[in-house]
Amino acid sequence: MNAYIRMWKAQSGAELLRTMRNRRFFMLGIVMPVMLYFVFVASVGDNVQIGGIDWKAYYLISMTAFGIIGSSLNSLGPRLSQERTQGWAKWLRTTPLPNSAYLFSKILAQAAIHVGIIVLMFAVGILVKHIHMPAHFWLESALWLLFGMIPFLALGTLLGTFDAPEVVTVLSTVLQMMLSLLGGLWTPTEQMPAWLVNVAHALPSYRFAEGAWNIMAGRAIPWETPAILLGYAAVFILLAVWRLSRKGARA
């Protein structure tokens, strides 16, 4: 038991350190969301209402979601793909580190990073943009975002099962942008044509932010929102497991 705790701690710590040192993660997970937030809040105006809440609060959620999606995809996918194709993952299998600890410590480190992103974004909203909300709204939104990131971690893992790290790197960023654009994270669905709204509603990115928008507006979260998120997570996980087991059979 002690051995497991020792390995987990070391492995998650190393993964955390590696993510923090990754410039791509910094750009796509932190710098871009913060910059876009300032630009779009300034250009639309602080006091506009959207979806029943202040635009500056609405867009804070959008950009936090955007950052978490980016961090999940861009850290997990390329790194898993690279480590598998370049033999590191194979070598690890000769060590006592359990296979599960390898993947799950990456995911754990990612979750810790996301707590950091949420704290940072919310601090920007509260301290810089002076958003006033009851404390439990903030807390509940943060918890929701931590739950809602599951399908994106699963998607990152799925991307990591492809054998071309360079392609995976590009694909991760493209997916982050597409999911955010179509999911109404850049421009709210209120400003989209009806057919696009239907697309958005089917996407995990929209559902991810929707939960937190609703919490901020003091509204209940519809049951299908977590259901859709979990559905995506299940599909991505099953696909990842299937792809990995097929590779295992060929080893």
Binding site: A14, L17, E83, Q86, G87, W88, T94, P96, A251
Partner: protein, 301 residues
């Protein structure tokens, strides 16, 4: 005590390709074994199965009395794989520290840095290491858990002279401490330096298995070197010894033949003026060439 490794009619197929065929092999603890063979002979495939990275298509194997996938067994073995790989965005010392945590009784960081010659590079990011340095890091990582059984798949490829020297000195120390070593290499001097036992495979089939001396003696060709006096001309020599292969370097003659004893007697009987005679049986390299040439003639070893 159970043997270090035990393969029982192990076969590995990749589709139609048979990489290893009914290989049976038992290596006792404390042995240093060299697994030799040409490119594609099945050495890496055999090691992968022993390391639990891939599984045999048929047959059974055990490592240190257990399954190689068992965490308890893995805690006691170390491996340098043929493809070296490092993880990015960690320093050399951070990588070693991380891997040390996987094992119950790891060696100290300082020792590992010292043995791999990486002490001056401890703070470097791994992605900034040169090819040879990466291989040295993989050596440090293989030793991190103070393994009883060490697998080395072409470990010195890309290492400079000094690193190679340090590497083999460390390996000799480990051998003296009773560790079991399984080595593959294409450098026969390396195999001769540390192997007690030599196993030769070709196309996945066992071709020879014996002590270093036994395998060396498979070589029937000897090399005889001598200094020829002024009256020993190439023509005269050819008349005496027939078709044996000779190479002249000034007055120094190198002669390669299977029956050097008979040729030497002929030369002495003839009264040829030759001096400084040396006869050598040749090393592993010649022995392997003998095995390959038998193969071509369809003989069995």
């Amino acid at each position: 005590m159970s043997p270090a490794i035990d393969l029982n009619k192990v076969t590995k197929r990749f589709g139609k390709k048979v990489a290893v065929q009914e290989l049976s092999l038992r290596v006792e603890r404390g042995t240093s074994m060299a697994l030799l063979g040409r490119n594609g002979a099945g050495k890496t495939t055999t090691l992968s199965m022993l390391l639990g990275v891939s599984s045999p298509t048929e047959g059974r194997l055990s490592v240190l009395g257990g399954k190689p996938t068992d965490a308890k067994v893995r805690d006691r073995l170390g491996a340098m794989m043929q493809e070296v790989s490092v993880i990015e965005r960690l320093r050399v010392e951070e990588t070693i520290e991380l891997v040390r945590k996987y094992y119950d009784k790891p060696l100290p960081l300082r020792t590992l840095l010292d043995w791999s010659g990486l002490t001056p590079h401890a703070k470097l990011m791994t992605q900034g290491l040169s090819g040879g340095q990466k291989r040295r890091l993989s050596f440090a990582l293989a030793l991190a858990g103070d393994p009883e059984l060490l697998f080395l798949d072409e470990p010195t490829v890309g290492m400079d002279i000094e690193s190679r020297q340090r590497f083999w000195e460390t390996i000799e120390q480990l051998k003296a401490r009773g560790k079991t070593l399984i080595l593959t290499t294409h450098h026969m001097d390396e195999a001769e330096r540390i192997a007690d036992r030599v196993v030769v495979i070709d196309e996945g089939i066992l071709k020879a298995d014996g002590t270093l001396d036994e395998i060396r003696r498979l070589n029937r060709v000897r090399t005889m070197t001598f200094t020829a006096g002024p009256d020993v001309t190439p023509e005269r020599l050819r008349a005496l010894i027939g078709g044996a292969e000779t190479a002249w370097d000034g007055r120094r003659v190198r002669l390669t033949a299977a029956d050097t004893d008979r040729l030497l007697r002929t030369l002495i009987r003839d009264g040829a003026d030759i001096s400084d005679i040396e006869i050598s049986a040749g090393g592993l390299e010649q022995a392997l060439q003998t095995i390959w040439s038998r193969e071509r003639k369809g003989e069995t070893a």
